[in-house]
Amino acid sequence: MSVKVEASHDGIPHNKVMGMGLILALVSLYIAVAASYAGIQYLAFFGGIAAVGALIWGNSTIKKLCSYGIGTGVPSAGMLAFGSGVIAMLFAAKLAVISPFIVPIAGLIIALIVGLILGWITNSVLNMKIPVMTRSIAELAAVGCLALMGLTVVATGHVTFAEITSINFEFLGVSMNFYDVSYIGAGIIAVSFMLGAIALQHPFNACLGPGENQDRINMLTIECGFLSMIVMAVISFAFVNSIAAWISLIIALIGWYWSYKKYFALSKRDAAAWLDAKPFSDAEE
């Protein structure tokens, strides 16, 4: 039933992009987890780098999946990815009671298991008959999990369930746990859910069609990732100390500005013609 429409063949093959994105995401997450374990908050920005890495991988997967007509549009893939990713990510965070260092890899494995079952359902029960469907949905669930974990680290500096569900305050010498102002209790996870899902589904949706280029999509992915990171860095002022939050914010702003300029240049390169229109025309001329 599916017709494959070839997206651009140029550039790096999917498996290589996947490997690079996965390694970037996992290494960044482990740096952030190690820093949080050691009590250093200043490295929380590595979560944003992890999210960008996962998103690059995810966009390559979406490009591969959506080159078969799935009929529901590209955004649905992003929503599915984060819908299954958030479940895997929170369960992985729960496993931090064993050791915080297993959280990223556990999230990856749980998301792959959930994604494989969902992919099998799509391909067999729903009879989609798309060869890459099972693998793509498994990959997307893993991407959703890792990207959400990265954004969580930017906002809170932690990946453990205890730290993202409660905030410990010293009040008159008594240590108290507050749950309603935490990352999950206050519902901030819903913000990161949507920011991540939009960053995942937007780049290919915006760039698909004739003249679509891998480097341009990847640059837009990086731009979207940093744009989401800016918002999470602003939110992080509530959870980490202000110097760490400023570091995250400045890195996110620099990354976003750099990638936006690059994306703009690549769009100019790929455009058939470029008219530098001005907002107001000069009446005298």
């Binding site: 009929g71 369960f91 029960v125 369930f161 999950i184 206050a186």
Partner: protein
């Protein structure tokens, strides 16, 4: 690319008996695992509560999957007035209806189970009713096209003839009465299912927190946050799977694609089984 996929093959609607049976067995295994984990004390509330919660989640998911098939989803062709329905994808529409219902149900959660479910259903139905009305207003007065279905000769409810109003080269346009009714019914089912998932999870988390030493300031807010994000996540998974089932666009309950709904329900049962089990495990006593 979605334009190509809008033309499914001949066997796309076929039911898959073997895969469906395997999916149902998998779902029963997930419920069994929840029962076993509750029995062995890893999940709180004894043997029955986790299994009951998972069954509630699965019923909610099945309702969502059924409801999605009623919603008139037009996609990109509808935005150009070339096919009937609301001019966006299932993911957006079902999410809008489901989340509106979920919020309605969540506000009413303290008033009891039945009131909360009714609140959720009415929230979802109201959201779809308003959406369908405004969509038709913009179609009729903005784009200047009448509502006409391309799939049936006469509207099954009002009996109005459709073919005479259909423009050549299109599959119909606008939102005929049957599509409007379908949208409202879909919103009712979606809101009901989403609220059911939310309330089941909320009750389970509230029952589990004492065993995890989560008590005191704002513990109930944490339960709301957790149950809410899981309900949203599961809702999106089920809605997108149902969207794959109808390959993107559907006119409403009179569309031939509507007959595919058993497949989506089987898929939703299995998918919500695994997602719900992982959601229960988040409050496991390790």
């Amino acid at each position: 690319m979605s334009a190509i996929a809008a033309k499914p093959g001949a066997n796309a609607g076929a039911f898959q008996p073997v895969a469906s049976v395997i999916a149902i067995i998998l779902a029963i295994i997930f419920i069994g695992v929840a029962y076993f984990l509750g029995n062995s004390g890893i999940l709180a509330g004894g043997a029955m509560l986790p299994a009951q919660t998972l069954v509630g989640i699965i019923v909610g998911a099945a309702l969502i999957a059924f409801g999605v098939h009623f919603v008139p989803v037009g996609g990109a062709p509808a935005a150009m007035g070339q096919s009937p329905g609301i001019a966006t994808g299932v993911a957006m529409l079902a999410t809008g209806a489901g989340l509106a219902g979920l919020f309605g149900g969540a506000w009413a959660a303290s008033l009891g189970f039945g009131v909360a479910l009714a609140g959720g259903a009415i929230g979802g139905g109201l959201m779809m009713a308003i959406t369908c009305l405004m969509v038709n207003i913009s179609y009729v007065y903005g784009m200047g096209i009448p509502a006409a279905s391309g799939k049936v000769e006469k509207d099954p409810i009002t009996g109005d003839s459709q073919a005479a109003y259909k423009s050549q080269g299109t599959e119909g346009h606008g939102l005929p009465f049957i599509s409007y009714v379908g949208g409202v019914i879909g919103g009712l089912f979606g809101g009901l299912g989403g609220t059911l998932i939310y309330i089941e999870l909320l009750d389970f988390y509230n029952a589990s927190f004492p065993a995890l030493n989560i008590a005191g300031e704002g513990a109930s807010a944490l339960a709301v946050g957790l149950a809410g994000i899981f309900a949203i996540g599961m809702f999106l998974v089920i809605a997108v799977l149902s969207a794959y089932n109808i390959t993107g666009t559907i006119e409403g309950p009179h569309d031939p694609k509507f007959k595919r709904f058993p497949r989506a329900i089987v898929a939703a049962i299995c998918a919500s089984g695994i997602c719900g089990l992982v959601a229960l495990l988040v409050v496991a006593i390790l």
